[in-house]
Symmetry: C2
Subunit: 739 residues, 2 copies
């Protein structure tokens, strides 16, 4: 080999080696790159902590201060101004878009020139006592106009006059007791019932069904005072001059009464008010306990059972009418309230998802208030405002969640969840196809004790996980996690050693999203100790005394409790929007279904004989729940083993998680309640606030006793069991491998 050729060979070897190295590099480069690059953001948890820490008590205080200076009833100029301010600030915070979405819905206001009141009239028809026309205005707010006096929204006009009958809380069981045990008929009478225990609309419906011609709602101190607490402003109890406003509709999820099923747009056809959904047919009016004392003190008739007695210094006699010495006196209601189609405004803000802009996580809560809304809803709205500020700050820094986040400031919640329901109707198709979860934000605080969460079972695990990452806001619990504090104060049951989580009922804006559309939903707030604090809601609920000061002076002086609520609502929203795998847990749904099936079966077994006679069995339901349990377990096992680098595999499994809640929706709805379509959860027919599990079966069983045709009534039970069993089977199917 010549030197030259040797050099050539060496040269060629070099070239080959270099090429080989280049090729090796190419190959390593090729294979080093993930085939399906997923989001390259660091794990969510890092950002989660930063995000949670961004939220500040002082900011929440400032938001609350700003939005509680003036009354902002739905449909008023001031509520539109707040909407515009929120729109502007959300834009400044850094959201991608913030739009104002109006609807024209039926609202109800007192007649400005003819006030509502109730009178005692003597034999000549002269009014010898009249209830107050307004609540005494709290200090510092004396110059503020536009404070709507206490009234029952959507009461018809009318001046019914007659004898009073006292019916305790006006519950189904109270009317049963009145009619069946006491033998008292309220036809043609005016019933007076105390506020509390159930939604006021249910009381009105019960009174209508019983034949009453009017209904008076009063706040009894027994139900609106905490022990050892003074009335506002010295404490946070209800003063005697305060009265609870509120709507008295039975909408059953219909939204605007004139456009059920469709958004109340300009071009939308409206039924006449006579055909409106859920409007009461008898006058209704709320009063405080000072006025109630005067109506109750002379009542005659039988003495009440002890659990019908409130805390006023009266005998709580049932009536009808007054004692013998004033027998000739009667009661007249003077109601002049008007209904009116009025424009309302939702504010809708968005952060576009980086990878899945077509998947939505919604954080929504209402803005409209009866007066200042210090607690309801602004303690919640301030929290949402702080979540938006914190999220906006991250977006400004270049961060973007995997999925789209939608923030909503709803209008006219107080008139029947109108803003949220109309928007749900407007966007039903998009939501059905794309909504991952809905987090609700009504009042952020109703007590000073611990956390309260109501949510769908598939959110249980996420809620626990998040609370373990948060600190207790209580000053005497330093070092304790929120989970530990909550667990200590409200353990679920003997069966389950974990903090209690409640079923969703209704009475707030999640209703259309959860019960009509089947979107996984949850809500979190700070609450009282339910074991020891037996008053209803919080004492100054829906009165003029719901001010900024009631929060700052009593409920949350450091605003740390509300910060915790912000972290809960914001954290849930964040994790649902940004986790690669949607953090919903089908196994928890299975556990809950097992529990609900057992308890509805126990209810059925109260009628063992008829169950046998009519061949009623819960076997198909138990078998379906078992099937669901296996499907859920298998699903989560498969989920452990998917290739998280494959975007289509991830998307498909996420779709199964997203659509799990949807699977419980039956488009035919519950009997007589076409907009309550969730087969597992619906508001109770007897109390809208409470959530009923297997509501179709429950109602069918409840109706057994009253039914003249027992076979027909039991057939309805069988039909409802069959529907529930099918629905649970169908939901199980959605969790199995798709092909």
């Amino acid at each position: 080999m010549s030197k030259r050729s040797g050099k050539l060979v060496r040269w060629m070897l070099w070239v080959v080696a270099v090429l080989a190295l280049f090729f090796l590099g190419f190959l390593i480069g090729w294979f080093a790159k993930p085939a399906h690059p997923e989001k390259t953001n660091p794990p969510s948890s890092q950002y989660l902590q930063e995000f949670l820490e961004e939220m500040q008590p002082s900011q929440i205080r400032e938001h609350l201060r700003k939005f509680t200076r003036l009354p902002h009833l739905a449909g008023t100029e001031q509520n539109l101004k707040y909407a515009e301010q929120i729109q502007k600030e959300w834009q400044e915070f850094g959201l991608d878009s913030v739009e104002m979405v109006p609807y024209d819905v039926l609202l109800s206001y007192p007649n400005a020139s003819q006030p509502n009141y109730i009178a005692i009239v003597d034999a000549n028809g002269d009014e010898i006592f009249t209830t107050s026309l307004a609540e005494p205005v709290p200090e510092g707010y004396e110059d503020i106009g536009d404070i709507v006096p206490p009234y029952s929204a959507f009461s018809p006009k009318g001046q019914p006059e007659g004898d009073l009958v006292y019916v305790n809380y006006g519950r189904t069981e109270d009317f049963f007791q009145l009619e069946r045990q006491m033998g008292i008929n309220v036809t043609g009478k005016i019933v007076i019932v105390r506020y509390g225990k159930i939604f006021r609309g249910n009381k009105v419906k019960n009174a209508m069904l019983a034949g009453a011609k009017g209904i008076i709602l009063f706040s009894d101190p027994a139900d609106y005072s905490a022990e050892g607490v003074k009335p506002y402003p010295e404490g946070w109890n209800l003063p005697g001059g305060g009265a609870q406003r509120g709507n008295v509709m039975n909408l059953n999820g219909a939204g605007d009464a004139l456009t059920p099923g469709y958004p109340a747009k300009e071009y939308t056809y409206r039924t006449s008010p006579e055909d409106g959904v859920g409007l009461p047919s008898i006058p209704v009016h709320p009063i405080g306990y000072h006025d109630a004392f005067h109506l109750l003190k002379n009542m005659g008739g039988p003495t009440p059972p002890s659990n019908w007695k409130g805390a006023l210094n009266v005998s709580y006699r049932i009536g009808p009418g007054f004692t013998d010495d004033v027998k000739n006196q009667s009661v007249r209601m003077n109601i002049y309230t008007n209904i009116k189609v009025t424009r309302i405004y939702n504010v809708i803000g968005r952060i576009r998802g980086a990878l899945e802009p077509d998947r939505y996580v919604i954080l929504g809560g209402h803005r409209d208030a009866w007066v200042f809304g210090g607690i309801d809803p602004m303690s919640g709205a301030a929290v949402v405002h702080e979540v938006v500020r914190s999220a906006g700050k991250f977006v400004s820094k270049g961060w973007r969640p995997r999925r789209t986040i939608i923030f909503a400031s709803w209008d006219a919640e107080e008139f029947g969840l109108l803003g949220s329901t109309e928007w749900a109707e407007d966007n039903a198709r998009l939501l059905q196809e794309r909504a991952v979860a809905y987090i609700n934000a009504d009042s952020g605080i109703e007590g000073m004790y611990t956390l309260r969460v109501d949510c769908t079972p598939s959110l249980h695990t996420l809620v626990y996980d998040l609370t373990k990452q948060l600190a207790s806001p209580e000053s005497d619990e330093e070092g304790l996690s929120l989970y530990e504090s909550w667990h200590k104060k409200d353990n679920w049951t003997n069966d389950r050693d974990a903090p209690r989580i409640n079923k969703l009922g209704s009475g707030s804006d999640f209703e259309a999203y959860f019960v009509r559309l089947g979107i996984a939903a949850g809500r979190a707030r700070y609450t009282k100790n339910w074991k020891t604090e037996r008053y209803s809601s919080f004492p100054v609920y829906h009165t003029v005394y719901e001010t900024f000061e009631v929060v700052e002076n009593f409920y949350d002086p450091t605003f740390r409790r509300l910060r915790t609520v912000a972290q809960m609502r914001g954290g849930l929203t964040f994790l649902l929007a940004d986790s690669q795998i949607i953090p919903l847990d089908a196994n928890q749904y299975a556990l809950s279904l097992q529990k609900y099936a057992r308890s509805i079966a126990v209810l059925g077994q109260g009628h063992m004989e008829e169950m046998q006679k009519y061949k009623v069995s819960f076997d198909s339901l138990f078998s379906a729940v078992e099937n669901f349990t296996v499907a859920a377990r298998d699903f989560h096992e498969r989920l452990q083993n998917i290739n998280t680098a494959d975007p289509l595999q991830v998307r498909a499994m996420n779709d199964q998680l997203m659509y799990l809640e949807r699977a419980f929706i039956d488009p035919l709805g519950l009997p007589g309640r076409p907009f309550y379509r969730h087969v597992i959860f619906a508001p109770s027919s007897h109390n809208k606030y409470a959530g009923e599990s297997f509501p179709g079966i429950y109602d069918a069983l409840f109706n057994i006793e009253d039914s003249a045709d027992q076979e027909k009534a039991w057939n309805e039970v069988k039909r409802q069991i069959s529907i529930a069993a099918f629905t649970v089977h169908a939901a199980a199917m959605t969790l199995t491998p798709p092909a």
Copy 2:
């Protein structure tokens, strides 16, 4: 520099250079690899051609031969045997899975020991004429048992006796003419109407509403004979002894009459038959024209309008009753048909999608036949069998479509689309979330002229594209594409120079998928020349003469027409399942909506005065359609520009395409028809076979004339316009960018 250090430097330079090269290679490798590798299959079109060419006339002939040897009525042993055979063969063809899915539904059969017939009775009540108990059996089939005699399925039992009234086709307009112009009341009479023009169930409903106590359906030669064609077996016309079987339900999409809304499983609650959906309340029976001649020949009463006259040698007098000389004779129906909950079987086969197993394209058609089902449905089922064989062959070779394909052999279509509807109910949630399209496969051929396609507007473009790739099957059209042949023979209108495509009506298994669930749907078959061939359906429809031979000897001797139908049904399925971008066209939907809006507005303008008086306007509808048109155009523009290498972007746009049809679904359903939920298309209330656009508005306008309360009737028109406008707006929203 020493030699040694020089060498070191050179060495280091080398190392650096080599490393640089390696790094360069790495970088090139990294970037050369697509970030989001999509399916590496060659373009679909290559496989499409191979797939289309795989389908063979001889194979279709063999399938048809095999599955038409024996009668296979729904619910019989033989129909189960065919199901098992199909299951076995589909497995052998190479499908991933083939399962048998049973339901227990209400069917209806003649009483084996007490035959149904109609008699003329004399004054003594003696039957002096009786209709035939069965059709003369065609040659070659004499030894076959289990041929069900002609009957009207779901007729109640009964022996009504009375005078006949002839009401032409029994259409709404025929009864209007009878009552309003001729002043004849059919209360307590037996009506006799000829088959044709509309679905027989509508005739029965009209007779019931008019007060008749029985209804006789007869096939008039005018409606069941083609000119110049001999009766079977010499030709393909209906013989005088043939009579059309068929169900006479008015289910309106409910499926099984006893389990509306839910699948008829073993555990499912069943209503009593009295509460069943759509069951007729008066006896019904079908007869051929030989028998009809005897019933009609002596009829008295007024002479009919000329368009009421058929082709029998009788006067077609209206009645009631016979001519004076036989006035004392009357007609008695003897109907003993039973209803019975019976097990039926769907066969469901699957090819799992390679990339998107959770997206479904369905090709389904029924298997059950009234007798042999030579045309209906086996000419279609043979075609599906051939599509499955061809697809299976590809799967065996390792091919797999992008999306899952589901093949279905439905049972009990003839009894009200039961098998397909129960399966749709069973799988409603999966289908709503995952179904891309449903291709229907009933009778493959009903004429010898050209192609017929009925489909949703978004499939128009795909249908045209596919037909351009296929050859005409006509022997005298060599070199002509199917598109060219079809276009030549059936141009749409003067407005649109393209082959005619029809709206979907009902009367076949796509109904639950399209009208209830909102899945894009279409059907294709070979048809007659509708301009010149005016007979109804095809003459031997639903008779014993629907044999293999009627196809082999007359309709498609070379089986090339059916091959073309196989290529259409298979090709549509293939392209929907395998195209990266789902080949649905929103622009075509926009075009159709424009057309439908114009024509419903024209209908309204027939009442100009009232429209003004009641302030009825179609403006909101036109504005919504305009909005939809813009959204569709913009969507397809964006679709042109997406990064097709990004799987999530492709999936999101495909989801928008998939859910477009779903957007037209209103869960509240049409008035009184809860299972017809499509706001744009529904079966006509007057003829189930026909598709009505904007059916809610149409029906509201139709009802104007009959309404005592005009304001109320016009309010319903306004409400329906509002619902339609909203729905079109909502559909437009689904096409806009998702966040």
